[in-house]
């Protein structure tokens, strides 16, 4: 495994993403962040903190997509984790989904299905820390921390201090 992002890189990327979110949406009116568990939630919280430093605090929540996955039948049942929507709901909001790694795009497809059930946002955008390529669906990210070209067989391991005790992203053989 080799380290491709260190703590300072992750910080800089998230800060830049925060600025890009403000730029794209001409401010933060109606913008809410929804992290995809587990690490997407942590990243969403960090971006929210940067947004609060730069402009204003905005609502941040989590969206569990387990029940909407298309690969449920390939392995034993997965644990369902918490979906915590901001009190404002998502109706008419500009929702920014946050995840750690964008790979096949299937997680995001599931997230879009989950969002459809919850309401009708004004728009949905996607922020990821790492885009590693190898998409299997026509899905792209609006905000990318770092593009990391990978071999499809490699794994990208994102570790965050709140969960793993250290901030780093590694790439390596499975």
């Amino acid at each position: 495994m080799s380290i491709v992002l260190e703590k300072s890189d992750i910080d800089r990327s998230l800060k830049r993403i925060a600025h890009e979110i403000i730029e794209r949406n001409h401010g933060l009116e109606d913008v809410i962040l929804l992290g995809i568990p587990t690490r997407g939630v942590t990243l969403a919280q960090r971006i929210t903190a940067f947004l609060a430093d730069i402009e204003v605090p905005i609502p941040c929540g989590s969206l569990d997509i387990t029940l909407y996955r298309d690969d449920l039948r390939t392995r034993p049942p997965r644990a369902i984790v918490e979906t915590q929507l901001p009190l404002s709901g998502i109706e008419g909001k500009r929702v920014v989904l946050v995840d750690d790694v964008l790979f096949s795009g299937r997680t995001i497809r599931a997230a879009l299905d989950a969002l459809t059930e919850l309401g009708r946002p004004q728009s949905v955008q996607l922020a990821v820390l790492v885009d590693r390529g190898h998409r299997e669906l026509p899905i792209r990210a609006d905000f990318v921390g770092k593009n990391i070209p990978t071999n499809a067989k490699e794994i990208v391991k994102v570790q965050l201090e709140e969960i793993d005790g250290i901030d780093q992203v590694e790439v390596g053989a499975r």
Binding site: D64, L67, Y68, L72, R73, T74, R75, P76, P77, R78, A79, I80, V81, E82, T83, L85, D113, E117, L118, G119
Partner: protein
């Protein structure tokens, strides 16, 4: 989990996992989400050889909220009255594509037989077999208790729960005694000696013949239905005497702890094991039990059918 046949088959941590899953599912379905796509294409058969309102409807509602297809079978009006056996009935329904069968049967052990005889490869959930087990009811009761006493989320130690009435014929009592004690609760079964089964002490519960001594100490009182359809002998002299000695009467309602709750698996015999005031009092969580039943059964179905099963590629 392969099947859910008896509370004795699952560990306390598996039970808590079911309850946690149920909690997340209830949070989702209480919001704007009415239907989840998770079990699309799975077929669930409700195989009911005994009358039921809430259990069958609850399993049906749970399955439908997860987008499974539901086939309801009730023995009344079916080929069972022409003499078709359990084996042939089950195999017929499996040939129609059942992935999971929810079975209720008057014979104790029917669910176990269906699951382990090799007749079918579909999964089996026991929805009540004779006087033996009713695991989904015990799970929804534990869920309801946990919802009411959130400080006991993962450990029921310190909670005292009375199960009152016809313990002898009650599968609800057997399942609940096993589950609640495994979660750490202190359980006392209360009833006339004629309605307490032989060897009840081996369940890990205390036994009492006097409801008045117990009721003021309990955090939850679970009143059982007097099962007149199973009363084939004189278990008590008269309904009035039973109601006086073991019913949740108005005066007993008054002696309960301020925080304690009244539970009943339904259907209630008002005026027999529970008076109308108790049934309708704010302490009564009977309707919450019904509501929670759907979430708990969704969790059971998800954990059994949500992953890969035999026959998937």
């Amino acid at each position: 989990m392969q099947n859910l046949l008896s509370i004795d088959d699952i560990t306390a941590s598996q039970a808590l996992n079911i309850l946690d899953t149920a909690k997340e599912l209830s949070r989702l379905t209480e919001g704007s989400v009415k239907k989840l796509p998770t079990l699309r294409g799975r077929t669930i058969v409700n195989l009911f050889f005994e009358d039921s309102t809430r259990t069958r409807l609850s399993f049906e509602a749970a399955a439908k909220r997860l987008s499974a297809d539901v086939i309801n079978f009730s023995a009344k009006g079916s080929s069972v009255s022409k003499g078709e056996s359990l084996k042939d009935t089950a195999q017929t329904l499996e040939a129609m594509g059942a992935d999971l069968m929810v079975i209720r049967h008057p014979a104790s052990g029917a669910a176990h037989l269906l699951a382990n005889s090799g007749w079918i490869s579909a999964k089996v959930v026991n929805a009540g077999d004779g006087t033996h087990q009713h695991p989904s009811q015990a799970l929804l009761d534990a869920y309801t208790i946990r919802d009411h006493f959130p400080e006991h989320r993962n450990d029921f130690t310190g909670l005292h729960i009375a199960i009152v009435g016809d313990i002898l014929h009650s599968r609800v009592a057997r399942s609940n005694a096993a589950l609640l004690t495994s979660l750490g609760a202190r359980v006392t079964v209360v009833g006339p000696a004629t309605l307490l089964p032989l060897g009840v002490e081996s369940w890990g519960v205390s036994v009492s013949y006097n409801l008045d001594e117990i009721i003021e100490h309990c955090d939850a009182v679970m009143m059982l239905r007097v099962q007149s359809e199973r009363m084939n002998a004189s278990f008590f002299p008269s309904e009035r005497e039973y109601a006086r000695d073991y019913g949740l009467t108005r005066s007993r309602l008054g002696s309960m702890k301020p925080t304690s709750i009244i539970m009943h698996p339904g259907p209630m015999n008002r005026g027999l094991e529970i008076c109308a005031e108790a049934a309708d009092s704010p302490r009564s969580v009977v309707l919450k039990q019904v509501k929670n039943g759907i979430s708990v059964r969704m969790a059971i179905l998800y954990l059994l059918l949500g992953g890969s099963i035999e026959g998937d590629n």
